[in-house]
């Protein structure tokens, strides 16, 4: 790794605080991550594992009940946690942009396409209306919308789903951000449109050298798109590293279970391997590892002490007791779980 990464999260924690502090949901719990310029980081995890909250935290657009309770977010040498709201507005859309979960609904039905692409440009750069619209036309061409001159004046309901999606991508790219966060941008699309859109994102990334954070629960997309992978479970980062390493040799039992649950071609007679049990309640986490309840390899220590953050290799993060304690030191008290 060369120099300081573009974005480095350092023990970042975001909690939802309800009932005056009586109920605290640890949606993001001491997450440390980094993204280099031009790189793609995939964040995977079950629903409710804190992926989306993490994205909202980076953008600093959390709902009112959520608070950043600790940690730092170093972005191009500045700590985003310390920024005021006004300073964050300068960064949002300009240096860090975001594509939302449902791009189909991300366009205001009452404004023309050009108007909406030009909006962030007009907010962040002191340019005339005409030149912002000129750039909007250029962006439409960049996201491969045919005949941008006429499309730019049209309204969202005149576009197909795939086109609207690409327009949302164009809005994200409009101020040439350094980092683009895509929160499950393809869940509402069919497969061919999905593939087109992912290719488009990759091309844009290559052309502009931007970093991409891809939040998804689709491991196929991760394999295709990402350089780095971070696996989250119950608000915590359990394993992170290069995609090829994690896909080939996952070390955390949760990552292993996740990869095992992907259906494979040709295995028609086998049942799909699901991960038994439910993720824990984030407001009442067990004292030890959050995954211990469902982990087939859990031993006594997993239930009593939270595992430390380990770096087995310089680019590999792991949070699991299995790689600390040698097999002989693991008293297997969980007979039922061990038999699985």
């Amino acid at each position: 790794m060369a120099g300081e990464p573009l974005l480095r999260l350092d023990k970042l924690s975001t909690h939802y605080i309800a009932g005056g502090g009586l109920r605290v949901v640890r949606a993001v719990d001491e997450v440390s991550l980094s993204v280099n310029a031009g790189e793609t980081l995939g964040i995977v995890g079950e629903s409710g594992s804190g992926k989306s909250t993490l994205a909202l935290t980076i953008m600093r657009v959390l709902p009112m009940a959520a608070k950043i309770v600790g940690g730092h977010m170093w972005f191009e040498g500045e700590d985003l946690v310390q920024k005021t709201d006004a300073e964050m507005r300068e960064i949002r859309g300009k240096r860090i942009a975001m594509v939302l979960q449902d791009p189909m609904a991300s366009l205001n039905p009452l404004f023309s396409i050009g108007n909406q692409i030009a909006e962030p440009i007009r907010v962040h750069e002191r340019v005339s209306r005409a030149s912002a619209w000129e750039r909007a036309r250029g962006l439409l061409k960049a996201v491969r919308i045919p005949s941008p001159e006429t499309r730019v004046k049209q309204f969202p309901h005149e576009m197909s789903g795939g086109m609207r999606q690409r327009i949302v991508g164009a809005i994200g790219m409009s101020c040439e951000p350094r980092l683009l966060i895509a929160d499950e941008p393809t869940t509402s699309l069919d497969l061919t449109i999905q593939a087109q859109y992912l290719n488009l994102l990759r091309d844009l990334q290559r052309e502009h050298g931007l970093a991409l954070i891809f939040i998804t629960h689709n491991l196929g997309i991760v394999a295709k798109m990402c350089d780095q992978l971070a696996v989250m479970y119950a608000g915590r980062l359990v394993e992170a590293g290069p995609v090829s390493r994690i896909f080939n040799a996952p070390e955390h039992p949760y990552t292993q279970a996740l990869l095992n649950s992907i259906p494979r071609m040709g295995e028609r007679d086998q049942r799909l391997t699901a991960i038994a049990g439910q993720p824990p309640d984030l407001s009442a986490l067990p004292p030890g590892c959050a995954f211990a309840q469902r982990c087939p390899q859990a031993f006594h220590r997993c239930r009593s002490e939270a595992p430390p953050v380990l770096h087995p290799r310089p680019d590999h993060t792991l949070r699991c007791w299995l790689s600390v304690d040698a097999p002989a030191e693991r008293p297997r008290v969980l007979a039922g779980a061990a038999a699985v």
């Binding site: 009112m64 960064i91 949002r92 859309g93 939302l100 039905p109 907010v123």
Partner: protein, 302 residues
């Protein structure tokens, strides 16, 4: 029967232009033509009152008091709808009264609409203590009986047409605030608003550019329904003597002036202004209902 039973005569397919008409009829067939015509007519009468009125509405001749409409014995074409207790022409007073009703109705709805919409948007979008304060004030306001409150305000500021506009605006803004706030609460969770947030727009520009245009529909629907309520309230205030001050002709005032005459057969003094009020309010309500169905996002299919 001349045709054999196994021969079915199909209706000839209608030509294309007629089909186009039918399509239009499906889309706009339920357009309230008569109410719109009535409201337009009242508006035109209000605008051209000076040209249309045959007599001065405020000055009568005492030699021609209590003349009945022209078709009754003693009536004449000079005073088509008769005269009142001061010998003023009822038709001319109705014509100028339309002006008062129109101006007060539209302006009061505008005042209430602007105040209520702005507060509703602030309350719904900003949330927190702003929402708490605005909504508690609204609750308190709604707990006051509207008419009594309007009379109370009129007693404080004194009667004049423009004061009535302000009073009605201040009395009825809460209905807007409630409805618009609810609308904003659902709008602020929509993806395009979130996208504007992550694109770095300030909350003020989001409220102005993304929220406001999306609640205008509801505000218009509410406004057309409120028009009827406001006109009735104006007439009531005038009837009670705290509305438009006397020499000026207002429909409510005419009702009030004519009420003693009702017992001795001077029916035209109350029936004509009463009919005018009823027709105008009914028209406003029918148009409002039609707009609500056409524009309300909850009822509109998409």
């Amino acid at each position: 029967m001349s045709t054999p039973s196994d021969v079915v005569v199909l209706p000839s397919p209608s030509p294309t232009p007629r089909r186009a008409v039918r399509r239009l009829a499906i889309r706009f067939g339920d357009f309230p033509v008569i109410p719109t015509a009535i409201l337009l007519a009242v508006a035109l009468v209000a605008i051209f009152a000076n040209q249309l009125a045959p007599h001065n509405p405020e000055i009568g001749s005492l030699t021609a008091r209590f003349k009945p409409p022209f078709w009754q014995t003693g009536g004449s074409m000079k005073y088509i709808l008769g005269t009142d207790q001061l010998g003023r022409d009822v038709l001319s007073r109705l014509i100028f009264g339309a002006r008062v009703s129109m101006v007060v109705g539209i302006m009061a709805v505008l005042v209430a609409g602007v105040v209520g919409t702005v507060l509703g948007i602030l309350s719904g979008y900003l949330g927190g203590w702003v929402d708490q304060v605005i909504m508690r004030v609204t609750d308190t306001w709604l707990a006051l009986p509207a008419l009594t409150f309007a009379i109370f305000l009129a007693a404080i500021v004194g009667p004049s047409m423009w004061n009535i506009v302000i009073i009605l605006g201040v009395t009825y803004w809460t209905r807007y605030a409630r409805v618009i706030r609810g609308e904003v609460l659902s709008l602020r969770e929509r993806e395009f608003v979130r996208l504007a947030v992550v694109a770095g727009c300030s909350k003020w520009s989001i409220m102005a550019r993304h929220i406001l245009p999306n609640v205008v529909n509801s505000a218009i629907v509410l406004g057309s329904l409120m028009l009827g309520v406001v006109i009735i309230t104006e007439a009531t205030l005038s009837f009670l003597g705290v509305g438009v001050p006397p020499p000026q002709p207002a429909w409510g005032l005419m009702l009030s002036d004519g009420k003693q005459g009702l017992m001795v057969g001077y029916w035209w003094l109350t029936v004509f202004p009463g009919l005018c009020i009823m027709l105008m309010v009914l028209s406003a309500n029918l148009i409002g209902d039609w707009l609500r169905v056409k524009l309300d996002p909850q009822l509109r299919q998409l």
